[in-house]
Amino acid sequence: MKILVGVKRVIDYNVRVQLKSDGSGVETNGVKMSVNPFDEIAIEEALRIRESGVEAEIIAVSIGTKDAQQQLRTALAMGADRAVLLETDSEVQSLDAAKALLSIAQKEEVDLVLVGKQAIDDDANQTGQMLAALWGRPQATFTSELTIADGKAKSLREVDAGLELIEVDLPALITVDLRLNEPRFVKMPDIMKAKRKPLDTIAFADLGISESPKLETVAYEPPPVRQAGAKVADVPALIAALKDKGVL
């Protein structure tokens, strides 16, 4: 089977993001960038499917600037077979990202698309669902357990009410949740090997997708800050403080 995995380059999750001094956006200059943590889980899951004995080719795809090659190299070092960069210097919103990933999924005739449940930069949580809609194929979002057999996928989904089990026919789109697996660390020899794996670049503009209507971001601002209160010395003081605030 063929598996496509979405790999987005985002600010590392340990970085405290800062607004640019002119308020025109988020500062990315000199900031550590990484693979979106959910996408690492998606790559890991693809690898585990292959390691379980299913013959699988894993294609990592990123939409972004030339720099996203670094994150694709990480995916290759983890074990993906090849990578495709859909290169653009412009912001690509979810609907167009979905169209772009889908164009590769269709060209490659993949059986499975694995993406993160959300990118931790825009926190949109949309791209996978949009891709599945445009593809006319099933979706299993927030997957925390995945079983593939007989042309079907079973997904245990983390929903507000608990855990939901669904079954979908392949090809299908899966979005992955944190508990699906723990991504492996890449080892030095794998990084060297990854340098020789194919990484193709396609200009985003050459994909020939029709541009969707876009949201316009008109302002960026810091969130309201919560003033830290005070520490209390002991339990009686805690109870007094709670009563004082009228919550007890």
């Binding site: 405290r16 993001v17 988020v26 979810s94 609907l95 979905a98 449940k117 926190d123 949580n125 996978g128 669902q129 949009m130 891709l131 599945a132 809609a133 006319g136 194929r137 099933p138 979706q139 299993a140 979002t141 927030f142 925390s144 079973k154 983390e158 929903v159 009410a161 608990g162 855990l163 089990l165 669904i166 079954e167 979908v168 026919d169 944190l178 969707s212 209507p213 876009k214 949201l215 316009e216 971001t217 008109v218 302002a219 960026y220 601002e221 810091p222 969130p223 919560r226 830290a228 209160g229 520490k231 209390v232 002991d234 339990v235 009686p236 805690l238 403080a241 709670l242 605030k245 919550v247």
Partner: protein, 311 residues
């Protein structure tokens, strides 16, 4: 005048509290209608019709709507949105799953996690785990968004008397997605997302057995019980208790964090709480930077002492 369609969230014939919060957001935009898609919508529709200010409830009765499968619901929702200026769903796992699929079918972008209505086409939403707030403008045409429920108080569940109407839509529904089962965590405690008080435990609680101290404390206070991701990951408690960026975003009047360090991803989930209390044995834990009341203590000593003091 804007016409807003809100898709109701419901389970087992009961309206979910997230719906009335989405209605509050919708009412700031225009006239509010609610759609109920279900295999037997009557009871939920009656509840929806009683929400204050709602002027119409549309029902779509179909055996295929017995479970909330996005691939089944999205094309129906896309069809229902015809004639409306806005289409909203709560930003719960239900809304997050279904609405982007409908948006893509309609060829429209989606505003995720609306936290404020600036005007009918302009909304505030958080990015980077709530560390930045953006103001986004929707291009001319249908505005689609999920509503960050922690940012809106629920509209009164009584006082409305909306007309209930069966909607007639005809769309082909796929059979490639099948519901098998919902393993719902049974809990007598108040629902996390609507509880007035929440007690949460983190890695510091140490084990599944130890989590009893959190449950007992919650019961003492009539509170919902929550957890950090670390606690869920370690198997101390079920996943639906997770609070934070990738769990539930909540806004109780009182939030008590026990043995939780205060990672940014956790804090995102509780920023809108009224009073935050932290019990942690490490005086330098970042949770104290956001806590209104901090107690540096071992939770296994402090909690029984608090319970005793409450009588």
């Amino acid at each position: 005048m804007s016409q807003v369609l809100v898709i109701a969230e419901h389970l087992n014939g009961k309206l979910n509290s997230s719906t009335a919060k989405a209605v509050t957001c919708a009412a700031q935009i225009g006239e509010v209608h609610i759609a109920v898609l279900s295999d037997s919508p009557a009871a939920v529709a009656a509840e929806a019709a009683a929400i204050e200010g709602v002027t119409k409830v549309l029902t779509v009765e179909n055996a295929a709507n017995a479970n909330t499968l996005a691939a089944v619901l999205a094309p129906q929702i896309a069809a229902l949105s015809n004639g409306y200026t806005h289409l909203l769903m709560p930003s719960t796992t239900f809304g997050k799953d279904v609405l982007p699929r409908a948006a893509a079918l309609l060829g429209r972008p989606q505003v995720s996690d609306i936290m404020e209505v600036v005007d009918a086409q302009t909304f505030k939403r958080p990015i980077y785990a709530g560390n930045v707030i953006t103001t986004v403008k929707v291009p001319a045409g249908l505005a689609i968004g999920t509503v960050r429920t922690a940012s809106f108080k629920a509209t009164a569940l009584t006082g409305g008397s909306a007309a209930i109407e069966a909607a007639s839509i005809s769309v082909d529904l796929p059979s490639h997605t099948r519901f098998i089962e919902l393993q719902a965590a049974v809990s007598e405690r108040p629902d996390l997302q609507s509880a007035e008080r929440v007690v949460s435990g983190g890695r510091g609680v140490g084990s599944e057995e130890n989590f009893k101290i959190i449950y007992d404390f919650a019961d003492k206070l009539g509170a919902g019980a929550g957890a950090s991701r670390a606690a869920v990951d370690a198997g101390f408690c079920p996943n639906d208790m997770q609070v934070g960026q990738t769990g539930k975003i909540i806004a109780p009047g009182l939030y008590i964090a026990c043995g939780i360090s205060g990672a940014i991803q956790h804090i995102t989930g509780i920023k809108d709480a009224g009073v935050i209390v932290a019990i942690n044995k490490d005086p330098d834990a970042p949770i104290f930077e956001v806590a209104d009341i901090g107690l540096v203590a071992d939770l296994f000593e402090a909690i029984p002492e608090i319970e005793a003091a409450l009588g």
